[in-house]
């Protein structure tokens, strides 16, 4: 009961910081709180946010996934292969690309759980493999979606009539809710926490940790696949050279959201707030025309403060 209350306080704190940042930028620049800019921020948070959602599961198990950035790129390239090269129908190509992300996760899971390669190394290797394969498969050139003009609408179109609310954001919201329910209410979620808290004890209590770890990495991979699809949709092309560094932004969002890199602790709500804080901060600083150099400094400082506050709170609790 107390633990639960503590978790809620943490989320409240993160949410309060988000509101504080929003209020600050609204006062600093009257163009910040316009509908177009707010939906712009949400859309900017979508790609990294999706990566962060998936990787929250992996980080709660005490693992890490460095392959999500370039894995996302490879999934985007595969979307191009399915839709443009092979001429598949839109829905099929998109589903296969998401499943392809799952396949990358499955390989990571096997490497970590069966071959016992430390997650940092296993996913670092996958990061490089995916970066290389993206270039090989695409022939180092972007793939365009000329055959499926509707594909672009997947991220930037608006399903809700009359309002400019990008579909990408809608997808992100739905996926975040699903991820939240799975983490809290299902066996997969429960074992994610239990493996992260104490892997040995989980194993001893009769849970097949190997199997569940593979399942968790595979599940996380689906988010990478979806992020790749939305990235490609937004850029109306699969850009094979992109992606390096996105994994760190996603991990930063997860950490700002209060998920512990030690494993065993974390929440989807936290991750969503973390991703929003990152997006609001970059957008706000840009709108204020703060030089790029200082933008990086500010984001770095926020990560430090967020994590330190989390440590303080845990000490006091």
């Amino acid at each position: 009961m107390r633990a639960r209350l503590r978790g809620q306080i943490q989320q409240l704190l993160a949410f309060a910081s988000l509101i504080a940042i929003v209020v600050f930028f609204s006062i600093a620049n009257d163009r910040f709180l316009t509908w177009a800019n707010v939906t712009g921020i949400l859309l900017a948070a979508t790609v990294v946010g999706l990566l962060a959602l998936g990787t929250t599961f992996v980080i709660i198990t005490g693992g890490i996934d460095l392959s999500i950035g370039t894995g996302m790129t490879l999934s985007a390239v595969m979307t191009g292969v399915f839709l443009t090269y092979l001429g598949m129908p839109l829905w099929l190509g998109v589903i296969l690309a998401i499943l392809f992300g799952g396949l990358l996760g499955l390989i990571n899971g096997v490497n970590v759980a069966v071959l016992k390669i430390p997650p940092f190394i296993a996913t670092l290797a996958m990061m490089l493999v995916a970066a290389g394969l993206s270039l090989v498969i695409s022939g180092t050139a972007p793939i365009y979606f000329k055959e499926t003009p509707d594909f672009v609408r997947l991220a930037t179109g608006s399903l809700i009539p009359g309002i400019r609310f990008p579909n990408g954001v809608l997808i992100f919201i739905i996926v975040a809710i699903v991820a939240g329910v799975i983490l809290k209410k299902t066996l997969l979620g429960r074992y994610t926490f239990s493996i992260g808290s104490n892997e040995e004890a989980t194993e001893l209590s009769g849970v097949n940790v190997t199997k569940w770890k593979i399942a968790i990495y595979t599940f996380a991979g689906l988010f990478t696949g979806l992020a790749g699809v939305l990235l490609a949709s937004r850029l109306s092309s699969a850009q094979p050279a992109l992606g390096m560094g996105y994994e760190l932004e996603a991990i930063a969002a997860v950490v700002i959201g209060g998920t512990s890199l030690q494993g065993g602790k974390g929440s989807i709500v936290g991750t969503v707030i973390g991703a929003l804080i990152m997006a609001v901060l970059t957008n706000g600083l840009r709108i204020m025309s703060i030089p790029q150099e200082w933008q990086s400094v500010a984001v770095g400082a926020v990560i430090l403060i967020a994590v330190y506050l989390d440590i303080l709170r845990r000490k006091n609790a």
């Binding site: 712009g40 972007p142 937004r234």
Partner: protein, 327 residues
């Protein structure tokens, strides 16, 4: 040991051929390709590999290699921040004992010792794409980026009617191309268009997604913006995406740099007013050609301007432009 004596022998043969080439007048061309079927080997180390631009440079280099009957290799680091990786590639190239080296430095200072090593070994170095800050390279084959950016600025001034607010999305603030393409543009505006105000300059690392989001922020902050300039392919595409996502098509002047399918499409559809293209095929071609000439002992100018072009809806189909655009 055998390798070394072979190298010496090859050197002597090459020297003899050059001499006989001079003596024999027109026979020099044949001589370069002779030498027991051993073609001269030129190693090119570029600033990148995976981007379209570098692939076009490579294509030009390959054209020249075929024309002058030499062998080339073309390598480059994953990103333009990977100075260390590039130096390792340069070291490996040197270890292979090439006849000449083509090098596009990410960091001239850092590459200094390696260039010295090349000079000591008597390997001529041809700098390409951006200047190498050293007197070791025999020549530099590059676009005059400042002049090219000034040309972009000139068109911007004309298109916005000489007055109003504009902004820049630049790929980075540390590389020579990033700085030149920013300064060339800004200096032209300052000198020639006092009524134009540059309200913001932001850097997106050439990443399409980041450039899109930051261009959107600039457009949000300045609803009365009249024009925006993207300094390379990724930056320009970001600007185009931002304009489309905000539904501002046709409401402001977008000027780009380099080419690529998306940028060509944007110009054809009228989303982008026009762009500057370098001549990447020419850069690759001139680099290899200069290397061959250096090996033949010819005098080379200190720099070879590989040229640039302004292209827009009206001339995009011209053969001259089509030849330098890449998809």
């Amino acid at each position: 040991m055998r390798k070394r004596s072979f190298g010496v022998a090859a050197g002597l043969v090459a020297a003899a051929l050059v001499l006989s080439g001079c003596a024999g007048g027109g026979d020099g061309g044949d001589g370069a390709g002779g030498g027991d079927g051993d073609k001269p080997y030129i190693a090119l180390v570029s600033k990148g590999f995976q981007h379209q631009f570098w692939q076009a440079v490579k294509e030009g280099a390959e054209q020249a290699a075929e024309e002058f009957d030499v062998e080339i290799t073309f390598e480059g680091p994953d990103t333009e921040a990977d100075v260390d990786q590039q130096l390792q590639q340069l070291q490996t190239a040197l270890d292979k004992g090439p006849d000449a080296i083509g090098f596009a430095a990410l960091d001239s200072q850092a590459a200094g010792p390696y260039l010295q090593q090349a000079q000591d070994a008597g390997i001529p170095v041809i700098a390409f794409d951006s200047g190498v800050d050293s007197d070791i390279p025999v020549t530099t084959a590059a676009t005059d980026n400042k002049a090219a950016a000034a040309e972009a600025a000139k068109h911007m001034v004309e298109l916005v009617g000489g007055t109003g607010k504009i902004a820049l999305v630049v790929h980075d603030q540390t590389s020579v191309t990033g700085v030149d393409r920013r300064d060339g543009f800004v200096e032209y505006i300052e000198e020639n268009a006092p009524d134009i105000e540059i309200v913001d300059i932001q850097y997106g690392g050439g990443d399409q997604l980041k450039s899109t989001d930051l261009a959107k922020a600039i457009l949000q902050a300045n609803p009365d913006l009249k024009g925006i300039y993207g300094s390379n392919e990724g930056s320009a595409i970001g600007v185009v995406n931002a304009v489309t996502e905000l539904g501002l098509e046709g409401q402001l002047t977008v000027i780009g740099f380099d080419s690529g399918q998306a940028q060509i499409d944007a110009i054809t559809s009228g989303l982008m007013a026009g762009a500057i293209t370098q001549n990447p095929v020419g850069i690759g071609y001139e680099t290899v050609k200069a290397a061959v000439e250096a090996l033949d002992g010819k005098e080379l100018p200190k720099s070879i301007d590989t040229g640039f072009f302004w292209y827009d809806e009206t001339n995009i189909e011209d053969p001259e432009i089509q030849a330098v655009l890449y998809e």
